[in-house]
Symmetry: C2
């Protein structure tokens, strides 16, 4: 379990303090944080709390939403991402997870939106390098392409990332979002070859798709994903960072936090850990 991390989104209704306590009580060595609960407690206080608890911070979620055309909304997004990079550095998170953003209202121009994602990252590369934080472009499942993330595959995320310094820009491999991709194993290898795997996140693809498709995730083992092949590929690609369990699921959110943490740990140990090399966490 030395590389396991509980992403805070799996216990969404927990305050930062509750999330930290749940993680520590479950003997989990790392936590993936979200900006909102961190802001609620205050950045410096959050960093101190996590440090005092002896937890690694595996990532900060999330920046991105880069698809607005030139104008105040776009400037606001870039500025907000600069703040997020600083927050990640303060918290000791090696990675800021980026969700690209969907089509602007009324637009049908996917390729234009995709160019604006790249352009925004170009503006942030220097900040990321200076802060020592890797921007992790997270391809989201293509069912979110128009309303949430115009970056839909790992290959596409790498096409963007590879235009930048490998210390500044990488990709996030989330099993839920990429397992379907016929090219996923090659893309993981490609990401590893240039040191671009910023984070590895596990959760399962559950059918039927939930009424709110954002919440259609499950504990590893509850759905259709083969965690062996993808985890083996991530390990073979040289990734030595933490493995986060990040689940958006209403039933899980409604469960006691310690129960969620215990189930995440059990599923990780059964289905993921055997294929993860026993190396220390990236930030450990």
């Amino acid at each position: 379990m030395s590389r396991f991390s509980l992403n805070q989104a799996s216990i969404k209704y927990a305050s930062l303090e509750e999330a930290v306590r749940t993680t520590v009580d479950a003997a989990i060595p790392a936590i993936g944080l979200w900006r909102e609960p961190v802001a609620e407690r205050g950045l410096a206080a959050s960093a101190a709390l996590v440090r005092a608890a002896g937890l690694r911070v595996s990532s900060l979620c999330r920046g991105g939403f880069f698809t607005a055309p030139a104008g105040p909304a776009r400037r606001h997004a870039i500025d907000d991402n600069r703040r997020a990079i600083e927050e990640a550095a303060t918290l000791g998170a090696p990675t800021l997870v980026l969700v690209a953003g969907g089509l602007p209202e009324g637009s049908r121009d996917l390729s234009g939106a995709r160019e604006r994602v790249r352009d925004a990252i170009a503006e942030l590369e220097g900040d990321a390098l200076a802060a020592g934080v890797m921007l992790g472009i997270e391809p989201l499942h293509p069912m979110y392409v128009t309303d949430r993330a115009v970056v839909s595959t790992l290959g596409q995320a790498l096409d963007i990332a590879e235009q930048f310094d490998a210390r500044a820009v990488g990709v996030v491999v989330d099993t839920f979002h990429v397992f379907w991709d016929p090219q996923v194993l090659e893309s993981v290898a490609r990401a590893g070859a240039t040191g671009r795997i910023a984070s590895y996140q596990v959760c399962d693809w559950v059918t039927p798709i939930a009424t709110d498709p954002l919440l259609s995730r499950g504990y590893p083992g509850d759905g259709h994903i083969d965690f062996e092949s993808i985890t083996r590929a991530v390990a073979a690609a040289g990734y030595t960072g933490d493995v986060e369990c990040e689940i958006f699921n209403q039933d899980i959110w409604d469960s006691p936090y310690d129960e969620v943490a215990a189930t995440c740990v059990a599923r990780y140990e059964e289905l993921v850990a055997p294929w993860v090399r026993a190396t220390r966490g990236r930030s450990g």
Copy 2:
């Protein structure tokens, strides 16, 4: 409108006779048929009905469901596809649309299922050639990957199709299923270069995704798809066949058939026809 075709699924509750009458009354020159309503009326009678109405048959839906492991279910699927090829030939449909099938119950082995799709098509290639029917592998949106179609991208469909005779095996380009793909335009060009575009179908991607995700389609113009870029690519790739409007949507199914046909025609003329070259239909 010389290349427009109304796919029968857009007026799902119509009998074959009603669908033919609706198509003729709307001055649409072609129809895409489904096996169930054809079987209901009888194959020979259906062929005679469509011929007497002066309609081209642009495609027959559908064969496929090839992912069962060796055993009776698999043999049944192959045999059923042989019958479907014969039906397409009898109806004068140049294309039999294939939906790959999802993961077998309890399986998480996507790559094994994908191999079985290819193997099944290998068994059917000779039948397709003999009948003069092209098998059109239809990649379905990745949100259907586990329960309906393990073939998720046009590139993946082409990787399979290109293993076979170009007269026997091609791909179906359905805007709803492929518009999100960052490689869609290159894949369309690749399909055209080897004469592999078996059918071009248009309908829109509407959000939020419907509670039954199969029904999350809309009339062209009601969603987020840019029909210009993809239709231009299909035309530039040399496709001269019919363009089908195939929509699964409960509200549309509950509308009067003539209203649906009229709206499909209007949207086609506005959003698709300007980018289609004025050539005769494949089977015209």
